[in-house]
């Protein structure tokens, strides 16, 4: 039994999918015309799909973002025209939960960096479930500095529950590694486009998400804390996670409204994994369009606009929102 509510729901659909496939096969093998039956079943299937996935609550989106079949960063990176992976932080080790290197996107040379979770248990163990250690963030900083020096735009893919919370990570100064990443990205003298493709978990996600253009897949999430963690802290009850998910305003729509996200990449009904190829194509096209637009800006203008953008975030609600209480 999976603890992913979307996966559970899909199990019910699988039976119907199997029957449609059987009927189609039977229809092809027999002279008897069964196309009306097939069409009726397919219609029924679409209706159920619509009913199950047409409108998703924030909590359902959290599970969609964590779906085991959801395209991961490497599914996007492997569709670049070319990718030459670079490894290591030059201090201690190579962290497989962050991948990065030189790449060509629609013939444009770029440096690409992504958080990579595993696509099965074995890979998840190797990639620490996509939770980067300081070494991963140091590799990301190194690659971003390299991009800045060579004048190559930076493309990132964000997909992490959060930075690794382990003993070794603390010993190797996780805080410093993330802070440096934030600093390097906020000052990099090249255009940056970030896309949150799955889970955007707190500071560990933000470290790769400071960008001139921030995109989010329709059913991805981006949050200050996981709904479970938030519920445990505020209600001392992880069971309140669903409620926390709604309150945290972690969906693409919410964050677009806040100005934290600039563009939403639509997903097919039922989620990105139902048509991964199409979602990757759309995303890369949007990345390319953003890079083309940013390439027209001078470095000074680019840096000034990036600074102002983050400078004004948090300022936006000063207007129109009632202050709470009086200043002392």
């Amino acid at each position: 039994m999976s603890n992913n509510i979307i996966v559970e729901r899909e199990k019910g659909m699988a039976e119907l999918e199997r029957r449609i496939a059987e009927l189609r096969q039977a229809s092809a093998a027999q002279p008897l015309d069964m196309s009306t039956e097939v069409a009726a079943l397919e219609q029924k299937y679409r209706e159920i799909l619509q009913e199950l996935f047409g409108t998703l609550s924030p909590w359902e989106k959290v599970h969609m973002a964590r779906h085991p079949a959801r395209p991961t960063s490497l599914d996007y990176i492997s569709r670049f025209d070319r990718f030459d992976e670079l490894h290591g932080d030059r201090h201690f080790r190579d962290d497989p939960s962050i991948v990065g290197g030189f790449a060509l996107l629609h013939s444009r040379p770029v440096v690409v960096i992504g958080q990579q979770r595993g696509r099965d248990t074995k890979e998840n163990l190797r990639r620490n479930f996509g939770m980067p250690s300081p070494e991963g963030y140091r590799k990301a900083s190194r690659l971003a500095r390299l991009a800045g020096r060579l004048g190559l735009p930076i493309v990132t893919f964000v997909d992490t529950k959060g930075a690794d919370p382990g003993i070794s990570s603390e010993e190797h100064a996780q805080s410093e590694a993330i802070a440096t990443c934030l600093q390097v990205f906020s000052t990099a003298r090249v255009p940056i486009v970030a896309t949150i493709v799955g889970e955007g978990g707190s500071g560990g996600a933000l470290a790769l998400a400071i960008a001139d253009h921030v995109m989010m897949l329709e059913y991805s999430t981006y949050s200050v804390a996981s709904p479970e963690g938030c519920a445990a802290i505020l209600w001392s009850d992880a069971g309140k996670a669903e409620e926390a998910a709604a309150r945290l305003k972690l969906t693409a729509d919410d964050l677009r409204r806040f100005g934290i996200v600039d563009e939403i990449v639509p997903e097919p009904l039922g989620g990105a994994h139902r048509d991964a190829a199409e979602v990757v194509t759309r995303t890369l096209q949007a990345v390319d369009a953003a890079l083309a637009r940013l390439a027209a800006l001078s470095v000074e203008r680019l840096l000034e606009e990036r600074y102002r953008k983050y400078r004004l975030l948090g300022e936006w609600q000063a207007e129109g929102l009632k202050p709470v209480g009086k200043p002392h």
């Binding site: 400071i210 934290i260 609600q317």
Partner: protein, 282 residues
């Protein structure tokens, strides 16, 4: 211990007011050695236990008095809390803010301004754990950014005292984005050739440690301060074992090479003045 903490919580003014009303508040018990300390004596010793040297969590105004030579000109006090998410859990967020304001005598989790320290003009930012656990939301992010920008204009060094549980949950992503904002402001400030010092006090964790706290030229910490990215409980749950007591203390970080020095609060001003002299001597 919790009860004692509650008695000593809050700024000096708040405390003194309470002291007059409540005889029990004349005394504080050291959570480390159990010594019962006369509050005035404790305050005179900069909230450091006279017996064992335990550093109590210090209020922002007491901190400023202990570091600044005299006058302190606050900036950013006009930036006040709002409720961007319309948040409510056990209590509505605005009610929590009001309660903390009442209890701590502070308008938010950080006090920023300008003063002289050993006659060197500096920008001072002081976080206070007694207000929402020192968490950084929109107001803290904005005030710290304003401080750094004004310090850059005045070309004076900046010293920030960190004390924080991290980004403020009740402001969601609006709080998280303050990491980006403050980091960018620090980067500009430092790139312009200015000197940045942070003093990490108990506790400095989460989003604050992963942004400006660890970006400084010199990172000082108070003895035994808990400093880290992930909270102790989170790590213990992840690895399913108890962590050694020393883990994530200032001394542990010094040994691991993450910070520059651990300084007793009673020597802190003197240390900061020495650092400021080097920056001035350039």
């Amino acid at each position: 211990m919790r009860e004692w903490r509650r008695v000593i919580a809050g700024s000096a003014e708040g405390r003194r007011e309470k002291e007059d009303r409540n005889d029990a508040a004349l005394w504080s018990k050291c959570p480390k050695c159990g010594e019962v300390l006369y509050r005035r004596e404790l305050a005179a010793n900069l909230d450091v236990c006279t017996r064992c040297g335990y550093h109590f969590r210090m209020g922002a105004h007491d901190r400023i008095r202990s570091i600044a030579d005299g006058d302190f000109t606050e900036i950013g006090e006009e930036v006040v809390s709002s409720d961007p998410l319309g948040w409510s859990d056990r209590k509505p967020y605005p009610a929590k803010l009001s309660a903390d304001r009442e209890r701590s005598g502070l308008s938010e989790s950080v006090v920023c301004g300008f003063a002289t320290v050993g006659e060197h003009p500096v920008a001072l930012g002081v976080m206070d754990f007694h207000f929402r656990g020192g968490t950084m939301g929109r107001v803290a992010g904005e005030r710290i950014t304003l401080l750094l920008e004004e310090a850059e204009r005045r070309k004076v060094p900046c010293i920030i005292f960190a004390a924080s549980g991290g980004a403020r949950m009740e402001e969601g992503m609006v709080a998280l984005i303050q990491l980006a904002k403050t980091t960018a402001a620090v980067a500009r400030f430092m790139e312009a050739g200015n000197f940045f010092v942070t003093v990490l006090t108990d506790p400095t964790t989460g989003g604050v440690s992963a942004s400006f706290a660890f970006q400084a030229d010199v990172i000082v910490a108070e003895p035994k301060a808990m400093i880290g990215f992930a909270g102790r409980r989170v790590i213990e749950q992840t690895i399913r074992q108890r962590l050694p007591d020393q883990f994530q203390t200032a001394e542990f970080l010094l040994e691991k090479g993450a910070i520059d020095m651990v300084v007793d609060r009673r020597n802190l001003k003197e240390t900061l003045v020495r650092l400021l002299e080097y920056a001035k001597a350039r």
